[in-house]
């Protein structure tokens, strides 16, 4: 029986997702033995044109943010060739860190790149050496381009998500096809599994805002109670909470939990509701503002991984006006 074909295709990557897969070690190689890898730039030496010539792939894995017209082309290509398309990593599904460039827009991003201090100021136009793909106004989620079958969130996807993916691959190789849309990793928010949730379930006393370097983080206490912003309440628990266990707050790299359509707005509301609740009448608006002004980069905190797929970015892109 012919081995099923596997192709792994990149958008704008950092390499982390490759490392995550490769870190699986023997577990990965066992599965991959059952597959014929027809495309994976980090591992096998095939060119893009060869990918275009392949008529069909069983499993296509798209990794990385879609930031240019080429990325979109590739996603469409992969979808058209793949029986099963896997959207791998938060960048692919939600836009990820590259998505933050949406704050600047394509023109300013290119200007930033061109006019760095190390570049000569005389260079105003890029030499027309090659036809470069068009940089999109904002990175975009693969969902806006094609419809994947399987989603593996995470930056990079955690061991548990990866193992779940390997199970799917293993099953597929044995002839068991995955049905419908599969979102790997538990959909519930991190707080559901978090060991720092106090058993006495009293109120969260968030009487200040502190950045990580401003205090000694207590090991088994809820981060919000220590004044540190933790995205746990809105983030998908698609991991074993390694950050929390290593005394760092969640930054939301798994993307939104459940059906939340804008992680940042939900967390904003939760945060506003928690902050200085007992001190409201004493501090009044002035005092509250003073503490809230300690939050300098709200988008960086609330939308670090999900800006392109948020509702907020639609305002900037003029999506709501059908532009």
């Amino acid at each position: 029986m012919k081995r099923p074909k596997l192709a792994i295709v990149y958008g704008a990557i950092c390499g982390g997702c490759d490392v995550a897969l490769v870190n699986l070690g023997e577990k990965l190689t066992t599965i991959l033995e059952k597959y014929d890898i027809v495309y994976w730039p980090a591992v096998v030496d095939f060119r893009r044109d060869e990918l275009k010539r392949i008529s069909e792939v069983d499993i296509g894995i798209y990794m990385g943010a879609l930031v240019s017209s080429e990325d979109i082309e590739l996603a469409k290509l992969l979808r058209s060739r793949s029986k099963i398309l896997v959207a791998y990593g938060t960048c692919t599904i939600y836009g990820g860190i590259p998505g933050l460039s949406a704050l600047l827009g394509a023109k300013r991003v290119l200007e930033e790149v061109r006019f760095t201090l190390t570049t000569s100021l005389e260079e105003v136009e890029l030499p027309k050496l090659a036809k470069l793909p068009e940089l999109l106004e904002s990175a975009t989620s693969i969902l806006k381009v094609v419809e994947p079958n399987i989603f593996a969130p995470g930056c990079p996807p955690s061991d548990s998500v990866n193992e779940a993916l390997l199970e799917v691959l293993s099953d597929y190789a044995r002839g068991i096809k995955p049905k419908g849309r599969i979102f790997l990793g538990e959909p519930t928010p991190l707080c559901n599994k978090c060991t720092r949730k106090p058993t006495d379930t009293s109120k969260i006393s968030m009487s200040k805002i502190r950045r990580l370097h401003e205090l000694k983080l207590i090991e088994d206490k809820c981060f919000l109670e220590q004044g540190v912003l933790c995205m746990g309440p809105v983030t998908r628990a698609a991991c074993d909470l390694p950050c929390i266990k290593n005394n760092l707050p969640c930054v939301g790299c798994n993307g939104p939990a459940l059906d939340i359509d804008d992680m940042g707005l939900e967390m904003l509301s939760a945060l506003s509701s928690l902050l200085l609740v007992e001190e409201e009448r004493e501090l009044l608006e002035e005092g509250l503002v003073k503490e809230m002004d300690r939050l300098v980069d709200l988008i960086g905190i609330l939308y670090r991984y999900t800006l392109p797929s948020s509702l907020l970015i639609k305002l900037k892109l003029g999506d709501h006006r059908g532009e």
Binding site: C191, K197, K203, P233, L258, E266, S269, S273, L274
Partner: protein, 642 residues
């Protein structure tokens, strides 16, 4: 879902500005709208009948009424649709009068706006659900914390309405501060004469249980169903056996300052707090008793039991009244006045004891230091009150009682010299201004407008008060035999007890009412009330008034044995809830708890504000009929189609 929309002309109030025909035309095109009917006065009988008939005829599931403000007629239309067989919560009512036709002149604009508002109402009502009012049984029993005049008044009023009361008092006798007073202003009634009959009535009342030497140590539960733990300290004397013979007191070797006289006299370790104390029995001061057991030997009835222990009693009550009263500000902190340093500087309550015919000096005014008769007396008002460094507020009663003190002194010592240092005279009550006038004129009291800056004792034993007379602009020195400080009053409610009861305190420690005019005896915790000086400085007459007001609220709450509540409250989808506690933290009523890792709303405490839904990071908790999806649909509907 079949929606019926009813639009009122309100005579010409709406119809003159809003093009009703155009509205109907547009509304009929909206999905789910089965009928859109207009009428001249919907609130009138025929108008309501149209709605009732349409419900039946068109088999409507939900109704939208566009008319005047819901504040006026929501109830009218809710009842109308109930007559039509629908649940009242399937009604959405919007104002196109106050919010549209009465404020906009342009017909086109007004019509457009009316259409948008009605579209919004339709969008909301589509997801409304039917609900029944929430009923809860309440325990027909009231707990009153504090046995002073306020606590006694509430207890009597509530018990006389047929509701059992548990009255707890932390000292060995009820009566509070009022029992210490000689006469009360402005009528100069003898305090004990008006108080002791009430004390007796409370103690004898079949529906009132009095527990002295008792304090609340724990509270749980909520409105209608509180579980209270009461610590009863041991009296060590059996009330029913004590004959008040006083033999025990005679043999007791211990002498300590008597609290009732504020240290002006002494008592034994086994003592009667004051002659009219209720319960009428001796009590052992377990902190000072040396256990010499001499009293046991002489007691003729064997009433004494030195081994009695504290016990904790549990009570279930439906309402709790806080009547914990006041104390005087620690006057030693007013360093310039020398209280505690000089024996001949006393506070107002000590002076009351001196004036009292059953007090330590049997009504004669003598200096505590050398027992010399007092001929010259100086009163200092605002001692601690209205002072940034001590109490910022006005203690309200001092102007009146100081005037009373001056009058009573002059009656006993007609040739006495009285000086009163004051900043303002606050005499706003009924007959109060006349009382002050009388004191000033008839009794020839020397009122000096200015603050006293220092009090000291001269070598010859005279008390010297140095002050400033602002009306003459001169520094003055007044020599007297006795100085009385009208010390400011502070609340007795401890922050510990307040936090157990979840009762909010203001910055000064007084119990915070929910609204000074709309709900002056209720607190943000439903089922707990406050009256008397625990709430704010006030005199006896006001305490009694407030206590009766509180009693009315308690009776209203408990008399039917059950309470009914609007069902528009929050509810939790346990499949989504992650137990993150954001809602628990943000609910102003503490109505949400985490049980088994999921949020649970206490039906009786939820007031339906929706703050929780807006705060929930995963939208697991929703306010009935005000869900996020509904409001989003409303927003889309009102903005749709430019």
């Amino acid at each position: 879902m079949r929606v019926g929309v009813f639009i009122c002309h309100c005579g010409r109030n709406i119809a003159d500005t809003v093009d009703i025909k155009k509205v109907i035309e547009d509304i009929l095109k909206q999905p789910h709208v089965v009928c859109a009917i207009d009428y001249v006065y919907l609130c009138a009988e025929p108008g309501q009948q149209i709605i009732v008939d349409s419900i039946r005829k068109e088999k409507l599931d939900a109704i939208v009424v566009a008319a005047c403000t819901p504040t006026l007629h929501y109830e009218t239309f809710a009842r109308a649709i109930e007559r039509g067989g629908l649940n009242r919560y399937m009604l959405e009512m919007v104002s196109i009068r106050e919010l549209v036709s009465w404020v906009h002149k342009d017909r086109v604009e007004a019509t457009d706006k009316a259409i948008r508002i009605i579209r919004g109402a339709i969008a909301k009502v589509l997801d409304n659900k039917a609900y029944e009012p929430i009923k809860s049984r309440v325990v027909k029993k009231c707990l009153v914390i504090g046995g002073g005049i306020a606590g006694i008044t509430v207890a009597l009023d509530v018990a006389n309405a047929g509701i059992p009361v548990v009255l707890i008092e932390k000292s060995p006798t009820i009566g509070g501060k009022m029992a210490m007073l000689s006469e009360t202003f402005p009528t100069l009634d003898c305090a004990q004469c008006i108080l002791t009959p009430k004390m007796a009535e409370v103690y004898k009342h079949p529906l009132i249980e009095v527990h002295t030497l008792s304090e609340v140590v724990d509270v749980s539960g909520h409105l209608g169903n509180f579980r209270v733990k009461i610590l009863k300290r041991p009296r060590k004397v059996k009330i029913e056996l004590c004959r008040l013979c006083g033999l025990c007191e005679r043999v007791c070797p211990v002498r300590v300052p008597r609290e009732f006289d504020r240290g002006l006299s002494e008592r034994k370790a086994i003592y009667l707090p004051f002659p009219q104390a209720i319960p009428t029995a001796y009590v052992v001061d377990e902190n000072n008793c040396t256990r010499c057991r001499l009293c046991l030997k002489v007691c003729p009835t064997g009433a004494i039991d030195l081994d009695e222990k504290s016990i904790v009693v549990e009570e279930e009550v439906g309402a709790i009244v806080i009547a914990t009263g006041y104390d005087l500000y620690p006057a030693e902190r007013l360093r310039e006045y020398g209280y505690g340093l000089y024996k001949d500087v006393v506070d107002s309550l000590q002076f009351e004891r001196m004036l009292s015919s059953t007090g330590p000096t049997e009504g004669t005014i003598i200096r505590p230091s050398d027992k010399r008769e007092v001929k010259r007396i100086t009163f200092i008002q605002c001692a601690g009150s209205r002072d940034e460094a001590h109490l910022k507020y006005c203690s309200k009663i001092c102007c009146m009682y100081t005037a009373k003190h001056a009058l009573l002194f002059k009656e006993r010592v007609p040739d006495g010299e009285v000086t009163i240092f004051y900043i303002d005279i606050r005499a706003a009550g009924k007959g109060y201004e006349e009382f002050i006038k009388r004191v000033q004129e008839e009794y020839m009291i020397n009122y000096v407008r200015g603050k006293a800056s220092k009090v000291y004792q001269d070598v010859d034993g005279d008390m010297v008060v140095i002050g400033f007379d602002t009306l003459t602009g001169e520094r003055i020195e007044v020599r007297s035999d006795l100085v009385v400080l009208a010390v400011g009053i502070i609340p007795q409610m401890s922050r510990e007890l307040a936090s157990k009861l979840r009762v909010p305190l203001d910055e000064y420690g007084f119990v915070q009412e929910i609204h000074p005019k709309l709900r002056p005896v209720e607190l943000s915790i439903p089922g707990i009330f406050v009256c008397g000086t625990a709430h704010a400085p006030k005199d006896i007459s006001e305490s009694v008034m407030q206590a009766s007001a509180t009693a009315a609220k308690v009776v209203n709450l408990l008399s039917k044995g059950e309470i009914t509540k609007e069902p528009i409250i929050a509810e939790v989808d346990e499949n989504i809830c992650s137990g993150c506690r954001v809602c628990v933290t943000t609910c102003p009523y503490g109505a949400i708890e985490i049980i088994d890792d999921k949020a649970k709303v206490n039906e009786m405490l939820c007031e339906g504000c929706g703050i929780c839904e807006a705060s929930c990071p995963v939208d697991a908790i929703k306010l009935r009929n005000w869900k996020e999806e509904q409001l989003m649909n409303v927003v889309r509907a009102v903005l749709g189609g430019r």
